[in-house]
């Protein structure tokens, strides 16, 4: 508990210091609870998520960083490795490939990489997984783009 708190506090300070270092990621710690974080990540360019801003929710266990944080999408996203309803993410580093050397920041980077390179063989969203596996890239992209526009693009005015 003490160790996780100390480490999260250091991550917090690092995030404050590096604020402009990674323009694609914005990590925000909950005002009253250092075990709850949210992040805003930009959809990677040249993907159907380009132009969108996606919100992630982090729930951090007391054994952190020995155990991985729980992360899910709050913003709706059409992606083979993200559960469409719950936002749950299938990513090995959030499960058995976790290492305490990962940070919240590097987890966000890994999630951005997953958005750019879906793994259709371990789908949480079967519709989009099937589209990709059957080779219907266009179909997948247009669905993903549509949901990006609907849910992740900031409304103007």
């Amino acid at each position: 508990m003490q160790a996780s708190r100390a480490r999260l506090f250091k991550e917090y300070k690092e995030v404050q210091r590096e604020k402009s270092a990674d323009p694609d990621i914005q990590l925000i710690c909950d005002d009253s609870n250092i075990f709850k974080w949210t992040a805003l990540v930009k959809g990677p360019s040249e993907t159907p998520y380009e132009g969108g801003v996606f919100q992630l929710a982090f729930s951090i266990p007391e054994q952190y960083p020995l155990l991985p944080p729980q992360v899910r999408f709050l913003t709706k996203i059409f992606h083979p490795n993200v559960h469409f309803k719950t936002g749950e993410i299938c990513l090995d580093i959030l499960k058995n490939a976790w290492s305490p050397a990962w940070t919240l920041q590097s987890v966000c980077r890994a999630i951005i990489a997953l958005m750019a390179h879906p793994e259709p063989d371990s789908p949480l969203n079967c519709d989009s997984g099937n589209l990709l596996r059957s080779g219907d890239i266009k179909g997948y992209q247009s669905m993903a783009r549509m949901y990006t526009r609907l849910a992740a693009v900031p409304k103007k005015g």
């Binding site: 160790a3 250091k10 991550e11 054994q63 020995l66 155990l67 490939a97 290492s99 305490p100 050397a101």
Partner: protein
């Protein structure tokens, strides 16, 4: 061939270490016992001495061998001990294979386990001040440590990292440097430097378990008995089937399941799957209360023997399994185990699928019921034997003739009886799975199997009844010490001869079944 086909009752006695030795020799049990020993030997001859098929090894023995292997490899390949263990584990503890692969293509082997050339040592201390990459705290020179690679962490973070992996199970043997891009293995030297006593002990345990469990050698296995830490090493030249561990757990050396001769491992697997899929139907049949076939009184079975006697005034004697009169269950008339073939023929003549399904279910239930009834009796017998060992014999010795007639060591033959009952029930139990999978068309073979089974079954029922019921009569017998001694002697002779008969039956039975009975098939 002889050694493996003989009944496992012999193996039961072959575990002559510690607790079983009292069955074999009473050398230090006092004079009384010595004088009775001869009579005992006459009535219950021991199975002939046979060469031992296996040896027991403790965890410490196994660890020592593992250490020796590791030290040899460490010297031969000039790598630290911990790396030698990582390499050996990678090759399933097969030193020869490791040597070959290493001298063939050292780089490939190194890469497979993450031993890059830079890492000469399993641990390294940083020589400059560094921030630990897990807790981000700053440390001075020599205060952070790595797995021989360039990723340094403080001791506390290492301890947490290793502790979490060890808590997760045997995967701690595959642990790598926490840096996501680094494959350097966490070897034993590092674990020893950073982990506390408890974690280290658990880690060591996984290492030694791995030597047997992941080892390529088919000659050694851990005993799967609850709480048992012994390993069984088969001696060269034996194809080992069944092991009676010193902890009393009897198991199959090949599949690790409970002992199941004469059924094969495959039969056991199929049978277990079948029971699982048909569980509901079979349960329904088994939970139905049974009634005395004479007077319809509800009967509860609370003894292990299947020979039931209804209460007064009925006194009808019948068989718990088939509900037939017990008089049809002795000697050559014993046919409780026989599946009434005409029943199956009749319904298979009816062409409807439903009736065929019914016939096949009935056939299955016939065998399942018997398999499961012997299992229940087996459990009872185990409890009895347990009770006898935990003071039951002493109580009995005090009971008989007011405690003046025998001491408990002279009653050891009762334990032998239960040991034989346990073996016999277990063998019989598995003959039902065996016969179930015989070709139903092959009548001659099935009949012959059933004949052997019937003989053996009658003998174990007699033995079980004598050990159980007639013993209680002995307990209840109140008379002069002299009369009690006489009655006890009579009882001993009877029980011992039944043990002998049962042993013979079961030797023949297992031999016959395992040979596949070429004379009839």
């Amino acid at each position: 061939m002889d050694a493996m086909a003989s009944s496992d009752s012999e193996e039961y006695y072959d575990t002559d270490d510690d607790d079983m030795s009292q069955l074999d020799d009473g050398s230090d049990d006092g004079e009384d016992y010595d004088s009775s020993q001869e009579a005992d030997d006459e009535a219950c001859p021991k199975p002939e001495e046979r060469e031992k098929e296996y040896d027991f090894e403790t965890e410490a023995d196994v660890r020592q061998r593992q250490e020796e292997d590791t030290a040899k490899i460490s010297e031969l390949l000039s790598v630290p001990r911990g790396f030698a263990a990582v390499l050996l584990r990678h090759c399933r503890w097969d030193a020869e294979r490791l040597e070959n692969e290493w001298f063939c293509d050292e780089r490939r082997v190194r890469e497979a386990v993450g031993l890059t050339a830079e890492s000469g040592a399993p641990t390294a201390l940083s020589d400059r001040p560094l921030a630990c990459a897990i807790c981000f705290d700053l440390y001075g020179p020599g205060e952070t440590i790595s797995a021989g690679c360039s990723h340094y962490y403080c001791r506390e973070c290492w301890a947490g990292y290793v502790g979490a992996a060890v808590g997760d199970g045997a995967r701690c043997l595959l642990l790598r440097c926490p840096d996501p891009g680094c494959a350097a293995p966490v070897a034993r030297e590092l674990v020893e430097q950073v982990a506390g006593d408890e974690v280290r002990a658990r880690y060591e345990r996984f290492v030694v378990r791995s030597y047997v469990e992941e080892g390529r050698s088919k000659c050694i296995r851990w005993c799967p008995g609850p709480g048992c830490t012994l390993a069984v090493q088969s001696r060269p030249g034996f194809r080992l089937y069944e092991v009676a561990c010193a902890c009393k757990h009897a198991f199959c050396f090949r599949c690790g399941d409970e002992a199941h001769r004469p059924a094969s491992c495959e039969t056991v697997r199929e049978w277990a799957a079948k029971n699982l899929s048909d569980r509901e139907t079979s349960n329904w049949v088994l939970v139905n209360t049974k009634h005395c076939p004479e007077c319809r009184r509800a009967i509860e079975k609370n003894q292990g023997c299947n020979h039931m006697t209804c209460g007064d005034p009925c006194r009808h004697e019948f068989c718990w399994i088939c509900l037939g009169p017990w008089k049809d269950h002795s000697g050559g008339y014993y046919n409780c185990n026989r599946y009434p073939q005409d029943r199956a023929d009749e319904s298979s003549e009816e062409k409807t699928r439903r009736e065929q399904a019914k016939a096949s279910l009935e056939r299955y239930l016939h065998y399942y019921q018997r398999w499961s009834a012997h299992g229940a009796s087996l459990k009872k017998a185990r409890q009895e034997l347990d009770g006898l060992e935990k003071g039951g014999l002493d109580r009995l010795a005090e009971e008989i003739g007011g405690g003046e007639v025998v001491n408990s060591t002279e009653l050891e033959f009762l334990k032998e009886a239960y040991a034989q009952i346990i073996t016999a029930r277990r063998v019989l139990r598995w003959t039902y799975a065996y016969v179930y999978y015989l070709d139903p068309e092959h009548d001659r073979l099935r009949c012959f199997c059933e004949y052997l089974q019937g003989e053996a079954e009658a003998s174990v029922e007699r033995l079980h009844r004598c050990a159980e019921q007639e013993r209680s009569e002995l307990e209840a017998f109140v008379s002069t010490a002299e009369a009690a001694a006489e009655k006890l002697e009579e009882y001993r002779e009877k029980l011992c001869s039944l043990i002998l008969v049962s042993r013979n039956h079961f030797t023949n039975l297992v031999e016959g079944f395992e040979s596949g009975m070429p004379e009839v098939s």
